[in-house]
C-alpha cells in the first residue's frame, strides 16, 4: 500500500452494537446511485424498459429467496424483513405502479422506480401515529437495490468475503446482514442509520460491534485501511499509530474483564467508601423493562412514565386497562416502591384523539398537569386506576410540571374527590399513599419551601429544569449546544433546592438524565442527594462509581466547583476530580458507556 496516503483520523458516529474490534476495512459499494431521466421517444423501447424492470425485480426476489434459505440461526427472528422486501416487489401498489409509470410517462425504468418509491414514501409520511410511522418499512432500500441491478452494478456481495474484516458501507440492507458470517466480519461501519434501525438490531443479534451514522465513512475509508472500531463509544479510528493500537488492545481486554465484574456486582447495594448508602432506582416506560431493572439491582421504580398507553392507543385507554398495567408493574416490583407519574402529555407528545390545537410554544403550553386539570375526567380515570393498583404493592404518586402552590392544591382537590368516591364504592386502596411533585420549573424551586407543605416528596426532573432555566430548546440545533447540566446557574439552582428541602424536612430525589450520567454523579453526591433514579442500563456503572467515591470528599469537591463562573471551568474540575479518584478501569468504562457525558446533545 502507498504509505503516502496513510493518515490517522477519528470519526464519531452512533454506537449501535457494543464491543471493541481492530481489523482491516473492506469497502462495500452501497453509495446512493445516480440516475437520469430518459424520455422514451421510441414507442418500442417502452416494452423493453418494462421487461428490464420485471427482470430486475424477479432477480432480486430470487436472491431474497436464497438469502432466506441460508439465514443464520441468530437472525431467524428477523426473517420477516426479507419477507417485507419480497412483498413490496410483488405488491401491485409498487410493481404495477412502476410499469404504469413507464407506459404512461414514457420514461426509463430507473426513473419510474424512483418516482414510485418517492410517492409511497410520501404516503407513509401521512401516518399520524408516531410509533407506527417509525416502524413502517424501508421502501427506500428496496428502491436502491432495484436501481443498482437496473444499472448493472449489483456491487460486491458480502458472501465473498474471505478474510476477517470490518465492513464499511454507505448502508447495508437486511439481506446484506443475512449474508454476514459472524466469524469473518469483525465489525460494521455505515454512513447512515440509527441505534434502532434494522441493521443495528441485527448486528446486536449477531453480537458484531457496529458504529452507524458516520455520514461520510464510506467516502473516507478504503479497503485495506486499518481500523479500530469502538461500538460502545461510537468511534472509528482510521490507520491508528502503534501507541493507539497498544492502548486499545489493553483497553479492550480490560473492558471485557471489567464489564463482567461490574455486572456481577450490580445487585449489591451502592455504598460509598465512607459508608454512605445511595438508593438507586430505575426509570421505566414499559412493563417489559421491569425484569432488566431488577436484574441490574434497582431498589424500586423511581419514575414510571405513563404516557405510552395514551400515545400508543387510537382512543383514550379505559380505567381497567390502565389498572391492569399499573398492577402488573407494582406486583413485579413488590415489596419495592413504584413511583407512578401521572400523565405528561402535550408539548411534543400528543395522541391523535386528543384534538389539541396547535400551540405557538408547546413546551410552555398545555402539557402535563395543566392538561390534566383542564381535562379532569381523564385525570380522574388515571388516578382511580393508580389507586386501585396501590392495593397490590407499594405505590407513590408523582405529579409533573407543578409550577405553583395553588396548582398543587387544585390537584389535591381532585385527588381527594377520587379517594372519597372510591371509599363510597368500597373499592380498596392504600390510604397512606405518598404524593410528590416533579421539580422541573424554576418557579417550583423558588417556591419549594411552600410546596414542601403540600406534598411528601420532591423529584428533580433535570432535563426540563435545565431547559426552562436556560431557555434552551434541546432539540433546536441552533441552541442545543447551550444546554449544559454543568452550568453554574444549574448548580446554584440545585443547591438552593437541596437547602430548602433540608430545612423543610422533605425527601428529595432526582430522576432526570443527570442521575444516570456518570460525569454528573460527583456533583449530585456533592450536593448531598442520596436518591437517584435512572435508566436500568446505567445502574451497574453508577453503582460502581459510587463504590469508588467518598461522600465527604464529594461534598468538599462541590464547594470548589460552586465557585466556578462558567460551565467550562466546572467541566474541567469534574474531569480532573474523576480521573483522580476513580480507577483507570472505571474511567475507561465511563467513556464506553452510551449516554455518558451527554452534556452536549448530538
Amino acid at each position: 500500500m502507498d504509505t503516502e496516503r496513510i493518515q490517522t483520523d477519528t470519526l464519531h458516529g452512533i454506537g449501535a452494537s457494543p464491543g471493541i474490534v481492530m481489523g482491516r476495512a473492506y469497502h462495500i459499494d452501497r453509495a446512493e446511485v445516480r440516475i437520469f431521466y430518459h424520455y422514451l421517444l421510441d414507442e418500442s423501447r417502452v416494452d423493453n424498459e418494462v421487461k428490464r424492470f420485471m427482470d430486475a425485480a424477479e432477480w432480486i426476489k430470487e436472491e431474497l429467496r436464497k438469502a432466506k434459505e441460508s439465514i443464520p440461526a441468530e437472525l431467524k427472528d428477523h426473517v420477516y424483513v426479507l419477507d417485507t422486501h419480497m412483498l413490496i416487489l410483488s405488491d401491485h401498489n409498487f410493481f404495477d405502479a412502476v410499469i404504469e409509470q413507464i407506459r404512461i410517462g414514457h420514461i426509463n425504468a430507473e426513473w419510474a422506480v424512483k418516482k414510485t418509491v418517492t410517492k409511497i414514501q410520501e404516503s407513509f409520511k401521512k401516518i399520524e401515529d408516531d410509533y407506527l410511522r417509525e416502524r413502517v418499512l424501508d421502501i427506500g432500500q428496496v428502491g436502491q437495490r432495484l436501481l443498482r441491478v437496473l444499472l448493472g452494478s449489483p456491487s460486491g456481495s458480502l458472501k465473498d468475503i474471505a478474510d476477517k474484516v470490518i465492513i464499511v458501507a454507505h448502508d447495508l440492507t437486511p439481506e446484506d446482514m443475512t449474508q454476514i458470517k459472524a466469524n469473518r466480519v469483525q465489525g460494521i461501519v455505515t454512513d447512515i442509520g440509527g441505534r434502532t434501525s434494522h441493521m443495528a438490531i441485527m448486528a446486536q443479534s449477531l453480537e458484531i460491534p457496529a458504529v452507524v451514522g458516520l455520514r461520510q465513512a464510506s467516502e473516507v475509508i478504503v479497503t485495506g485501511d486499518h481500523l479500530i472500531l469502538d461500538g460502545g463509544a461510537g468511534l472509528v479510528i482510521i490507520n491508528p499509530d502503534a501507541d493507539t493500537i497498544q492502548r486499545y488492545q489493553e483497553r479492550k481486554a480490560r473492558f471485557e474483564l471489567y464489564q463482567e465484574h461490574v455486572h456481577g456486582q450490580s445487585r449489591l447495594p451502592a455504598v460509598t467508601r465512607d459508608g454512605q448508602e445511595i438508593s438507586i432506582m430505575a426509570n421505566l416506560e414499559m412493563i417489559s423493562e421491569a425484569a432488566a431493572a431488577l436484574d441490574y439491582g434497582a431498589e424500586g421504580v423511581g419514575l414510571y412514565r405513563t404516557e405510552y398507553h395514551y400515545l400508543a392507543s387510537a382512543k383514550l385507554p379505559r380505567e381497567d386497562e390502565l389498572f391492569e398495567n399499573y398492577r402488573e408493574v407494582v406486583e413485579s416490583m413488590k415489596p419495592r416502591p413504584v413511583i407512578i407519574r401521572t400523565l405528561d402529555v402535550g408539548g411534543d407528545k400528543v395522541a391523535g384523539y386528543m384534538e389539541m390545537k396547535p400551540e405557538a410554544n408547546p413546551v410552555l403550553g398545555l402539557r402535563a398537569i395543566r392538561f390534566c386539570l383542564r381535562e379532569p375526567e381523564i385525570f380522574k380515570t388515571q388516578l382511580r386506576a393508580i389507586l386501585r393498583a396501590s392495593n397490590y404493592g407499594w405505590v407513590k404518586i408523582l405529579f409533573p410540571m407543578i409550577s405553583s402552590v395553588s396548582e398543587m392544591r387544585a390537584v389535591k382537590d381532585i385527588y381527594h374527590q377520587v379517594c372519597q368516591e372510591m371509599d363510597r364504592q368500597q373499592i380498596p386502596f392504600d390510604k397512606n399513599i405518598s404524593l410528590g411533585i416533579m421539580i422541573e420549573i424554576p418557579s417550583a424551586v423558588i417556591m419549594a419551601d411552600a410546596l414542601a407543605k403540600e406534598v411528601e416528596f420532591f423529584s428533580i426532573g433535570s432535563n426540563d429544569l435545565i431547559q426552562y432555566t436556560m431557555a434552551i430548546d434541546r432539540v433546536n440545533e441552533y441552541v442545543a449546544h447551550m444546554y449544559k447540566p454543568f452550568h453554574p446557574a444549574i448548580l446554584r439552582m440545585l443547591h438552593q433546592l437541596v437547602k430548602t428541602s433540608e430545612q423543610a424536612g422533605i425527601k428529595l430525589s432526582i430522576c432526570g438524565e443527570m442521575a444516570g450520567d456518570p460525569m454528573c454523579l460527583p456533583i449530585l453526591l456533592g450536593l448531598g442527594i442520596t436518591d437517584l433514579s435512572m435508566n436500568a442500563f446505567s445502574i451497574p456503572i453508577i453503582k460502581q462509581i459510587i463504590r469508588e467515591t467518598s461522600f465527604t470528599e464529594s461534598k468538599e469537591f462541590f464547594k470548589r466547583i460552586f465557585k466556578c463562573e462558567t460551565s467550562g471551568q466546572v467541566n474541567t474540575l469534574v474531569f480532573e476530580h474523576m480521573s483522580r479518584i476513580l480507577s483507570r478501569d472505571l474511567m475507561n468504562q465511563i467513556f464506553n458507556h452510551p449516554g455518558s457525558g451527554d452534556q452536549s446533545p448530538q
Binding site: 412483498l87 401491485h92 401498489n93 401521512k126 407506527l132 416502524r135 413502517v136
Partner: protein
Amino acid sequence: MADNPEQLEINKRLEVMNKVGLHARAAAKIALKSKEFKSQIIISKDGVSADGRSILDILTLNCPKGTYLEIRAKGEDAREVIEALTQLFHDKFEEE
C-alpha cells in the same frame, strides 16, 4: 364475479390488539397469510379500503393498537380466510 351465486362473501370486524399496532412485521404477516388463499380480501378502516395482499396498502391504513378493521373475504375459501385472519389478529400477530 360478485354475482356468481357460487361465491361466498363473509365480513368480520377485528380489533388490532398487539401493543405496537400494524407495523411492518404485522402487515407482512397479514399479506403473506392472505396470499395463501384464492378469495378476494379487502380490509377497510373508516371507509378506506386496502387489499389484504398488499403490504403497502395495509401500512397506509395507519392502524395503531385498538383500531377496528372490517375484513371482507369473497370467494370459495372465504370462510377459511376469515378463520385464519381472526386467528392471526387474536394471536396479536404472534408478537406478545
